[in-house]
């Protein structure tokens, strides 16, 4: 029970910190000392305090967007094992639910974008759903590999770091899967080199342009949800890359937190050393991610 509470606590509290860490890393690379680690928390609080502006063209859909977005990510977070601890909710096929929850969130955030009737939001929504069409299969191929390796159909057991087939068989596929997952993670969370959460250059933006018209608490929810999505997917990637476990339960939690923060640093480094690709390359990379995971599957099926 206590484990579950810890899980929920981390899920609710930790995500903005990741953004803080990423920001700090980029600042360091940029030679600035940058905003404090907790800056994202301040922003969120400020946003929740603010009043809000709603376009006259919008309907309930526009308001439903952030709500559904946040709810789905929260629930998805409950399906992922943090560190060595099994997820609070885990059953056969939960990885499918995991993917489909994000799809549900996408459905409503994109619809909300279209609700404003502005060309920019429409563009963003179009790009969002378009790229996810390529990200989804990649994700599922990764799941296939994990399922085959762990001979199980539930994320908790998939990610518990034990591979009946033996590490020798597992290693090559796992490398491919990790690479693929990393690309998917960057795209899905609109990070450089695929998207930039900080600029507002319409021509290249995906996620940010979608939420252009949201303001105040709604915008806060969206950013909080985005952070949480990054956190959750990061947790998955972490378990694939480094399924380490400490002897002690609480040390295990600490290990997990450290790991996720390191992942944030890595992301920050990637963002600092790479420039954003042109839009036309995004699909190419996603297809590459797909192919990586497909090879992962083929390696196992041969």
């Amino acid at each position: 029970m206590s484990q579950i509470l810890v899980h929920i606590f981390l899920l609710l509290v930790l995500p903005p910190l990741l953004l803080g860490v990423i920001g700090k890393t980029k600042a360091l690379f940029g030679g600035r000392n940058g905003p404090p680690f907790l800056q994202p928390y301040y922003d969120l609080i400020r946003l929740f305090k603010k009043g809000s502006v709603f376009s006259t063209t919008t309907t309930w859909v526009f308001r439903a967007g952030p709500v559904v977005g946040l709810a789905t990510v929260l629930l998805a977070g409950m399906l992922i094992p943090f560190g060595g601890h099994s997820a609070p909710v885990s059953f056969a096929g939960d990885m499918i639910l995991f993917a489909y929850l994000f799809a549900l969130g996408r459905f409503f955030t994109a619809s909300a974008a279209l609700d404003t009737g502005s060309a920019f939001e429409g563009m963003g929504a179009a790009r969002e759903v378009t790229f996810s069409c390529l990200a989804e299969p990649a994700l599922f191929f990764c799941f296939l590999v994990l399922a085959k390796l762990s001979a199980s159909l539930s994320l908790t057991t998939m990610l518990d770091g034990t591979f009946p087939l033996g590490a020798g068989v597992a290693a090559p596929s796992l490398v491919l899967v990790a690479a693929s997952l990393f690309i998917v993670l960057l795209v899905e969370n609109s990070r450089i080199p695929f998207d930039d959460p900080n600029t507002h250059l319409e021509l290249t933006m995906i996620h940010e342009v979608m939420v252009l018209d949201h303001s105040g608490p709604a915008l806060g929810m969206i950013q909080y949800g985005a952070a949480m999505k990054l956190f959750v997917m990061g947790a998955v990637l972490l378990r694939v890359v480094a399924p380490f476990e400490a002897a002690n339960v609480w040390a295990d939690w600490g290990l997990f937190v450290v790991g996720i923060l390191i992942l944030a640093v890595v992301i920050g480094v990637v963002e600092s050393v790479m420039a954003r690709f042109r839009m036309v390359f995004v699909p190419t990379f996603l297809v590459a991610a797909c192919l990586l995971s497909v090879f992962g599957v083929i390696l196992l099926l041969r």
Partner: protein
């Protein structure tokens, strides 16, 4: 008892339209009567079907009312009854005095035919019911036959359905020769050679594939669905094409020991038609054609499940049988529900705006909130998203496909695992497509006057839609409630190994699903509540949409459905092959520009029509044979005579 109820129900439907023919004085009464009869018939039929589940009776040799039949009967009766209620307002006799009667007569008949097919245990009865269904559907499609487009759609449908009937002729003829009777039942092992069994299987795939709209046999489906009145489209898409699935499920189960590649074939066909169906849907500008292509996609998903189950039968993996078939059968229900819902809401839009062109709509959510909400429900459901019913059936199929990796002690059939990823692709594309449709139709600002002057439909229409929406929620929230019916169906599908069949709930987390669904809804409710209260406390101002500083936005500057799908379409340009017309470069001060793109149906417009033209040209080559010249005629006789004399 149960059979009598079903027969009564069928009879009610069959005659529902007839009184209207004679009530020329008061046609509205005829419509009411038809509706009443239809509802009564459906009530009787569904009761009978449910009773049959608990007490399977076998009164008549020509009739089989087992679980599989029941599973298909229920949506047939439900959707048709709701459709006829909906028709009261949508196709009010007052507005359609010309074809209203005809429509109702054949509407009743098509329901009766469908139910008849579902219960037929005799090949002749099967064919009769089949053709009654097919022909009445033809008359329904060509309801407004003063319109050339409608006539073409009708003709195409008629030809295709006759093809499938002819395939059934061959199928049942071989069946008769093999078994020596018209009674339909499992073929005894050794009744047919393996080659002949394969022929039978192929005939089934073609005949029922045509009816079900499986790629590449789907060609009739889009135009027919688009041209028919919306409640008829709902009927056709919801249950009529499912009768093809019924035939496939039923007859495949009767073939002794299928080789594994049969299941593989079905899996491939299903995947192809799933992916291509949704891809073509992306390219459509016509709301109903878009929905029609989504039917093709969902049929594909169903067939994937069936293929998995069939492979399970050949490789003796009960888990695949259970998951695959349960997924397929449940998806039959689900698609029946949400596709009917979507077509009815589309009808509601068309009824108030008189256009099917997506790019001429927009902003309807403001004026038709109920329709918008119900369409959204349908859209979420058809994308297979939780917490609605579509998710459940797709999850079952996913689980089955994942298991083909060889989880645990089961044999591995890894190729099938790729289908899982394809299913994911289908899901993502469906989301894209329905965001496009929902957004372009209901959200943003109206793009045309017809959309600007739209109005919400009346209680009758929204009511019948609401019922379907509620059903979608029920299955999504309480999947374990239907698991028993599905298990009975599966048991009826493989009578041989009922003992070994694992229970569905041991393989699929039905309890978890409903728990998660409730949690999700609860979370949304709480967060929504939070947001609302926050907004109440804070200052909320209304303003125009921020257009990055652009001063005078107009509705035409919105992202249209076509532009929304443009990038995705460009990925699939190799199959969509859209024909694009752009007006040539403009001078320095550009005036009006024109751009239109149109997606054809590859199979129909680029394969079959040309083939037909070639056939016509060849046949006209032969016309010199009958050139009116009697000398030639006499010459044929003597030549033929000599040929025959020298024959042997």
């Amino acid at each position: 008892m149960s059979e009598w109820l079903v027969i009564l129900g069928i009879a009610c439907h069959a005659f529902s339209g007839v009184p209207g023919l004679f009530l020329r004085r008061d046609p509205a009464a005829g419509q009411w009567l038809a509706m009443r009869l239809a509802v009564l018939g459906s009530a009787l039929g569904i009761t009978g079907a449910l009773v049959a589940l608990w007490s399977p009776a076998q009164l008549f040799p020509v009739m089989r009312l087992d679980a599989i039949a029941v599973i298909f009967l229920i949506p047939i009766f439900l959707v048709s009854a709701l459709g006829s209620i909906y028709g009261l307002e949508y196709w009010a006799q007052a507005e359609h005095s010309g074809n209203g009667r005809k429509l109702r007569v054949f509407y009743g008949l098509v329901t009766a035919g469908l139910a008849g097919v579902a219960v037929a245990a005799n090949s002749l009865l099967f064919l009769f019911a089949w053709e009654v269904m097919a022909l009445s559907a033809f008359f329904l499609v060509s309801t407004e036959d003063h319109d050339q487009e409608v006539r073409d759609a009708g003709m195409l449908y008629l030809v295709i359905t006759h093809f499938s009937t002819l395939c059934l002729f061959a199928l049942f003829a071989i069946w008769y020769v093999a078994t020596g009777s018209f009674a339909l039942g499992a073929l005894p092992a050794g009744a047919v050679t393996p080659t002949m069994a394969t022929v039978l299987f192929m005939l089934m795939v073609v005949a029922f594939g045509f009816k079900a709209g499986l790629m590449p046999f789907h060609i009739w489906l889009p135009s027919a669905h688009a041209m028919a009145p919306s409640h008829v489209s709902a009927m056709m898409s919801g249950v009529l094409i499912k009768i093809g699935i019924y035939g496939l499920v039923r007859m495949v189960s009767w073939l002794p020991d299928p080789p594994a590649w049969w299941g593989g074939t079905l899996l491939v066909l299903g995947t192809v038609s799933g992916v291509l169906g949704v891809v073509f849907a992306l390219g459509q500008h016509d709301l109903k054609r878009l929905l029609a292509y989504h039917s093709i996609e969902n049929i594909g998903i169903i067939v994937m499940g069936l293929g998995l189950a069939l492979a399970g039968r050949s490789l003796h993996v009960t888990a695949w049988i259970v998951l695959g078939l349960a997924g397929a059968l449940l998806h039959v229900w689900n698609h029946g529900l949400f596709k009917a819902l979507l077509f009815l809401s589309a009808g509601s839009v068309i009824h108030s705006t008189h256009t099917r062109v997506i790019d001429r709509l927009g902003g309807l959510a403001a004026v038709m909130p109920f329709t918008a909400l119900l369409f959204a429900v349908g859209a979420v459901a058809i994308c297979g998203l939780p917490p609605l019913n579509g998710f459940v059936s797709e999850l079952l199929i996913y689980l089955g496909l994942f298991r083909t990796l060889g989880i645990g002690a089961e044999p591995s059939w890894g190729v099938a695992a790729f289908a899982a990823a394809m299913l994911a692709l289908i899901g993502a594309l469906a989301v894209a497509c329905f965001v496009k449709a929902f957004g372009a139709i209901f959200l943003g600002v109206a793009r045309s006057d017809s959309a600007r002057h739209a109005h919400e439909s009346g209680r009758v229409m929204t009511g019948s839609m609401l019922v379907l929406a509620v059903c979608c929620f029920c299955i999504g929230l309480f999947p374990w409630a239907v698991s028993l019916v599905l298990e009975l169906g599966i048991a009826a599908w493989v009578p041989g190994l009922n003992a070994e069949l694992p229970a569905l709930r041991t393989l699929a987390p039905l309890g978890w699903i409903s728990m998660v669904a409730f949690t999700l809804i609860g979370l949304m409710f709480l967060i929504g509540l939070g947001l609302v209260r926050r907004l109440h406390r804070s200052r909320v101002t209304a303003a125009g949409t921020w257009d990055c500083g652009y001063a005078a936005p107009t509705p035409n500057m919105q992202y249209t459905a076509s532009s929304f799908a443009q990038m995705l379409g460009s990925f699939f340009v190799w199959v969509l092959r859209p024909e694009v017309l752009v007006s040539e470069k403009q001078p320095v001060f550009p005036g009006r520009m024109h751009f239109r793109s149109h997606v054809m149906d590859v199979v129909l417009d680029e394969v079959l029509r040309p083939a037909y033209q070639i056939g016509v040209r060849i046949s006209s080559r032969f016309h010199f044979f009958q050139a009116g010249n009697i000398h030639a005629y006499l010459a044929y006789i003597v030549i033929f005579l000599i040929v025959l004399l020298l024959w042997r």
